[in-house]
Symmetry: C2
Subunit: 497 residues, 2 copies
Amino acid sequence: MSLPFPVLTAEEAAAMVHDRQTIGFGGFTAAGACKVIPLAIAARAKAEHAAGRPFKLGVITGASTGKSLDGALAAAEAIDWRTPYQSDPTLRKSINEGKTRFFDLHLSAVQPTVRSGVLGKVHWAIVEASDVKADGTVTLSTSVGAANTFIRLADRVLIELNAHHPAALTGFHDLYEPADPPHRREIPLYAPTDRIGSPVVKIDPKKIAGVVKTNNPDETGAFDQPDEVTNRIGENVAAFLASELKIGRLPSSFLPLQSGVGNIANAVIGALGSNKGIPPFMMYTEVIQDSVIDLIKSGKCTFASGCSLTVSPQKLTDIYRDLEFFRPRMVLRPQEISNAPELVRRLGLITVNTAIEVDLFGNVNSTHVMGKDLMNGIGGSGDFTRNAHVSIYTCPSVAKGGKISTIVPLVTHLDHSEHSVQIVVTEYGVADLRGKAPADRARLMIEKCAHPDYRTLLSAYLDISSKGHVPQTLQNAFSMHLAFLQQGDMRQAKWVA
Amino acid sequence: MSLPFPVLTAEEAAAMVHDRQTIGFGGFTAAGACKVIPLAIAARAKAEHAAGRPFKLGVITGASTGKSLDGALAAAEAIDWRTPYQSDPTLRKSINEGKTRFFDLHLSAVQPTVRSGVLGKVHWAIVEASDVKADGTVTLSTSVGAANTFIRLADRVLIELNAHHPAALTGFHDLYEPADPPHRREIPLYAPTDRIGSPVVKIDPKKIAGVVKTNNPDETGAFDQPDEVTNRIGENVAAFLASELKIGRLPSSFLPLQSGVGNIANAVIGALGSNKGIPPFMMYTEVIQDSVIDLIKSGKCTFASGCSLTVSPQKLTDIYRDLEFFRPRMVLRPQEISNAPELVRRLGLITVNTAIEVDLFGNVNSTHVMGKDLMNGIGGSGDFTRNAHVSIYTCPSVAKGGKISTIVPLVTHLDHSEHSVQIVVTEYGVADLRGKAPADRARLMIEKCAHPDYRTLLSAYLDISSKGHVPQTLQNAFSMHLAFLQQGDMRQAKWVA
C-alpha cells in the first residue's frame, strides 16, 4: 500500500505536538484507543520537563483509554486538563491529588460540547484505524467514541494504522453526526439495527499530518469470574424483568437492553441469557462486552449496537476469525448516537448500571468515594438512566468485607436523583421505587436491599428523623461515612437525636 | 347548545367519584385547572369522613393547580397520593407532615409513566374546556398539561365547560401524543412554531359522564413587582447571553428560550427584552407568563410555545380582547412535548431556572428546604437543564435577610448535578462553570456569586478541606445549614478541622 501521507515513527508524530495544545483522542475504553503516539508524547513530555520546559496538554477522549494513553500521559505529568470518564489508576491518582484538572461530562454531551466551542480549539485528532486509503477514507478499529467529531474539527490528524485489526472491519461502523441548533433534525434511528450514516470517515488528505504503523492488541483486561454475590444480583435483575414481562408492563417483544461495564454487568447479561422467561433481545448499549458476544453466538442476543467492542483479547480473536457471522449482528456508533437521550427514550431502553452507593430515597452515587475522590466518572449512566423505560441500579449490599454498606442514609455525591432511579437491586433483593413517597422508599430499601448487618442501624436512622416528606437529619446524614473514615467500620455509627 | 351528555351540577359530578379511585386532572398551573368539581369532591370527602367512611384519592395532575383543586382536596384530607409538582400551601403542609404521600416526576415523564401502567388504572379524567361539541370534540382552555393522555386512558371523563374562556380558543392548542416503545417514532417538531397535532381532543361521547357548566376565572395570582435584586439578576443573565452571542458561541439568530416560573423569571425575561444586544427571539417553554405577553406585543418575542398560559387575570382579559393578534404567535402543547428532552436538545434551548440553593461545585437544589421539607417539586427544570444548549440557574445570593446563603458547601437535596448545570447567576455576577474542575468552580462561585458576607466563610471551608478532586469535608458539609437550624443564622457556622 502506498499512501500520499508521511509514514512516521511514533516519535516523529509526537514531535509535532506542542505544549498547551488540545488533543482529541479517538477510541472508547481501551478498545480502539491509540497505543504508540501517546506513549511517545509522554516520553517527549518527560524530556521537555527534564530540560526545564513546560509541556502540558488538554486531553479530550471518548471515555476511558488504555494504559499507554491515560496511564503514560498521567505518569509523565503531561495532562493539564482532561474530560470525560477515565479509569486509569495513575491518572485517577493525579486527579485526586489535584494535579490534573478533571471535569466530567455525560458521554452523549462530549461531541456537542466540543462543537459548541466552550472547550476551545482542538489542535489534534489522534485516532486508531484498521484501514486508511489514499483519498483519506479511514475505517476506525474496535470503537468510535468521538473520533468522527475530533477528526472533522481538529486542525490536523495523526493516525495509528494498526495491522492487528483487519481492514475487513469496514462495515462494522455507522458514523452519523447531527447538525447543531438551529439546524438540528431528528436522529433518524428507530431500531437498534438501523444504519443511518457512513461506515468510514472521510478526511481531507491535506489534514493528515502522518500515519504511524502499529501492530498492537487492545489493552483490554479480562474480567473476574462472576461470584456468588454478582450471580445473585444478576438473577434478581433477570427475575424482576421476567416478572414485568409476565404482568404486561413490558411489551411481549421485550425492549432493547443497555448494560454498564464490569463484573456485575457481565453477571446480569449472563443471567438474562439463561432466564427462560426472557425472550431473545437486542442490545442498544455503550460497551459490548464478552458476555454479549456469548449471547450473540447462542442467539439469545439478536443484535448489539454499541460504541465500542471491549472484549478480552481471546474473544476478539474469536470474532476476527468469524467476522462474517458477526457483521450483520453488530454495529459501532459515535457516543452521541449510542448514548443519545432522544434515542434512549424512543427505543424504550431497559438500562442496568452499577452504583457505588445508593441512599434510602433512591439517589445514586456513581462517581466519587466518600464525597471526595473520583472513581471513574459518570460515563453514560446519566444519558441512559434519565430517559430509560425502566432504569435499574445494581450493587453488592456491602463492600470492604462488610465495613461499608452501599445502602446509606444520604449519598456523598449525587449523580442520579430519586427522580430518575426506578429499581435498585442487590444480592438480597429488588426495591421497586416507582410511584412511592420517600418514607416508603426508605423502608423498602432497608427491607429489600440492605445487608442484614445494617438493617437495624438504618431503621434507627429513620426512627430518629422527625416526620416529614424526607425522613432525614442533616447532622446524622453522613455519620456512617464518618464512622468508616474515623473508626474503619460503618457499623460503628451512632445517631444523635 | 344542546349536548348529548348529562349536564350536571358539581355535586352530582362529585357523587360519581369514589374512595380509592385515581383521578387525572387536566390543566397545568392554576391556568386551565378545574375549579368546581374538585371543590365538590372535597365537600364529599369531608361528609364521608364525618360519617366515618374512608375517602381518599390518587391524584395525578399536569403540575400545580389552583386553590380549589389541590388546596381544597388537601384541606379535606382527600388525597392519598399525589404526583407531580404542586405549589399549594395546604397541600405542601400535608405532604411535609407525612399525611399525603407525594412522589415527584420530571414533568415530561408524567404521560409516559401513566401510560406504562406503573401507577395503576386512571378511573377519571376531569378537565376544563372552553368548548365541547355533541360529537365529543373538546377544546381545552388556558393549558394542556397531561389532559390528552388522561382523557384517552381514563375509564370516564368529567368536563368543566367554562364560559369565562371563549370558544374561539380553538386553534391555540396543538395536541400530539407519541406512541410508546417499541413503536415510538421521532417527535416531528423542528421549530417552536411547528404544529404537529390536533387543535382539539376527540372523546368517545359514551365516555363523557357529564359536563358541569362554569364561569370562573383562572385562580392565578399576580406576581410581585421586580425589585433591585431580581432586576440585577435579570441584567446579569441578559449581559451574559449578549456576550455569548457577540463572541460567536450562540448563532446570530439566537436560540429559543425556556424560562422557569416566578419573579426572577419575569425579571430575566424583562431584561432580555430591553437588552439591545439580544435580537428578537422565540420561547419554547413550559409556562407563558405576563412578561412574555409584553414581549410578544413589543415584537421582541416573535413566538411563544408553552404548556400553559399562566397570566394575571388582567393580562388574560387583554389577550382575549385581541385573540386574532395572539393566535399566530402562540401555541399550547402537552407537557411531554413542551418538555421533551428530544426537543430541548434538538432546538438547542437556552434554559433559565431558579434554584433554592447551589453548592460550590455547581450542584443545584430546586425542591427541598434543609433537606427535608418539600417546597414545590422538580417541575420541568430537569427536562430542560439536562438537554439545554446553555443551562442557567439563577437565585438571589441570600435569603431571610442574609441569614441564609444560597451558595453553600453542599446542597441538602440534589436535583441537578454538576454534570448538567453550566452557568450560575446571582445579583453579584455570573459563574461560568463550563469546562472547569471542581476546585476551580468553587473559587469562581465564591468570587462571582456568593454574598460578600459569606465569601470569607466559604473560602475558609475550601481551605480546611484537604486537597483532592472535590475539596469538601463530610463533617462540615452541612454546618452552615445546621447553624441556621440551631442558631438562626448561617454566618454562625464553624468549621471543624
